[in-house]
Symmetry: C2
Subunit: 319 residues, 2 copies
């Protein structure tokens, strides 16, 4: 029997954890799932993850586990810790790689944050193949980013680089979960768009499909659906979002001059409704030397598998 070398790509989300068995070429050979939220203690949670993995490989002797890559909110590549992740139940510092190596001795474990993992996924299994300088932006519950410079992920001196979601659009603007005001995330995330919807529904008295939905039930998907049907108020919300995102992405270009920025995550599902105004504002606000030179496109990763593939790329391509 021939043995295939594989890695585990693990995507730790606030609610669920996806575990993918991934080969060197980025094919997902099998998938498993562990609930994240049901574990009050990180140690018990990681024990469960390790058990699931061990059980899998016991019954699949055709695969050899070569390493584990983990993408998690506030995951730090340098320390191997999840540090103060607001969307996870476990407080403080979780020594992820240390815990996992105790449960699975001899298996290398690498950790990074979810957006960095997605950027690696884009590079090795998505659209950024061969790109040496690019940025991936995730527009989901929050706004994350992974920055690649000189063919390397930018971790910075402490492992926390790439927080474009927490660059400031308006220092007197919306309250952000990070404690400051006006972060990009408070405008361009799914929940930021919902906040925009509340504001627009209040100040703009025209009719809108969004008025048919209970206020507290409005989602970014609703705004996208309404905009797709030509709802002007919903289209204005996209225009507003695109302008702010365009300005802050133009700022990002002034820092690291990527050849392409990839957009990813739930908000990106709106497709051209987001992309058309975004491209217009992005090019409008770019410094002249960068105009019409920087690609802006959607991620080439399948959305459901991106984080698992990215985490797999982390171990396949950094070890």
């Amino acid at each position: 029997m021939s043995i295939t070398n594989v890695v585990c790509g693990i995507d730790i989300g606030g609610t669920n954890t996806s575990i993918g068995i991934v080969d060197r070429d980025g094919s997902i050979l099998d998938r498993m799932r562990v609930g994240t939220r049901q574990f009050d203690h990180a140690e018990a949670y990681f024990k469960q993850v390790a058990d699931v993995i061990q059980l899998f490989f016991k019954s699949h002797s055709e695969y050899k586990l070569c390493g584990i890559g983990i993408g998690a909110p506030n995951g730090n590549f340098y320390t191997g810790n999840i540090e103060f992740a607001p969307n996870l139940k476990w407080q403080g510092v979780i020594k992820v790689t240390e815990i996992m190596q105790n449960f699975l001795p001899g298996i290398p474990v690498v950790l990074t944050n979810d957006a960095n993992a997605a950027a690696l996924g884009e590079k090795y299994y998505g659209s950024a193949s061969g790109k040496k300088d690019f940025i991936l932006i995730t527009l989901g519950t929050g706004v994350g980013s992974g920055i690649v410079v000189n063919d390397q992920l930018v971790y910075g001196h402490d492992g926390f680089a790439g927080e474009i979601g927490h660059t400031i659009y308006d220092p007197e603007g919306r309250q952000c979960g990070c404690g400051r005001r006006g972060c990009l995330e408070t405008y361009a995330s799914a929940s930021g768009m919902v906040r925009s919807a509340y504001e627009f529904l209040e100040k703009d008295k025209r009719d809108s499909l969004l008025r048919d939905i209970k206020k507290e039930e409005i989602t970014a998907a609703h705004i996208g659906d309404a905009a797709a049907k030509g709802d002007e108020l919903a289209l204005n919300i996209f225009d507003y979002t695109a302008k702010i995102l365009g300005i802050k992405l133009a700022d990002a270009v002034a820092h690291t001059s990527p050849s392409t920025i990839y957009i990813f995550g739930g908000v990106a599902n709106a497709g051209d409704i987001l992309m058309k105004p975004l491209k217009r504002y992005f090019n409008e606000y770019l410094l002249t030397i960068f105009k019409d030179k920087i690609g802006l496109e959607f991620s080439g990763l399948p959305q459901n598998d991106a984080a698992v593939l990215g985490s797999a790329a982390l171990v396949n391509h950094t070890l």
Copy 2:
């Protein structure tokens, strides 16, 4: 006779060009000067620079010229060209390395922009020795920056990365020379501070030492002098400048997470009058995970020699 290997570090300014003869350790062994502005054509200018260099080495056989490093506005490391530099007389694209190699065959020539050169100078001959992730900001006529990530200068996909001076503070703000509005440069450069002085003198009716100076003669140095004497209006201008710079530097940290940001250039001469409020605002606007971790200090380079040393470092440490 023993021969010392040296390089030429050339700092091309809008008015003057400084040429330094620099050894491997960063000691400036000799200096020369060529007027920049008096040459209507780039070719004639570079011929003069090459002549001055050749003449020098003819009469100094104790030195061997190993390479030439040039720092210039809009100098591009990848192409070896100065491209559309607003502060230089010569329009369009100047093929600097090609021209210089024609005049001085066999001598390697490297070009980058002045702020990138200063960052390399800081790393090899200044305060950033051993630092793998740092940013240098020059606050002069304009605002420039050099970003170092993973021990490498960030050039980006096209050689134009590191334009923090042209990140946008206020999209409806002051008109910038780049054609857009509200760039950091329009607030934090020497001329930006003078614009602030005009605004403050207009809207704030209190007495000020700055009212004793003819409006069109006010310089950033005047504002610094007045602030040093306790002039409240001048101090308010520094507070205003520091707040905007602090916010945009906090944004820069969110991109590349440097261990230290070095401040350099004429505006930095104000010393603590700038640095005290700048540190306060910078830490106030930093994302929590970065708070109290990022150094903010003045450059360790002697101001008059920084660009020459940086250009020398470019050839001493990238060839």
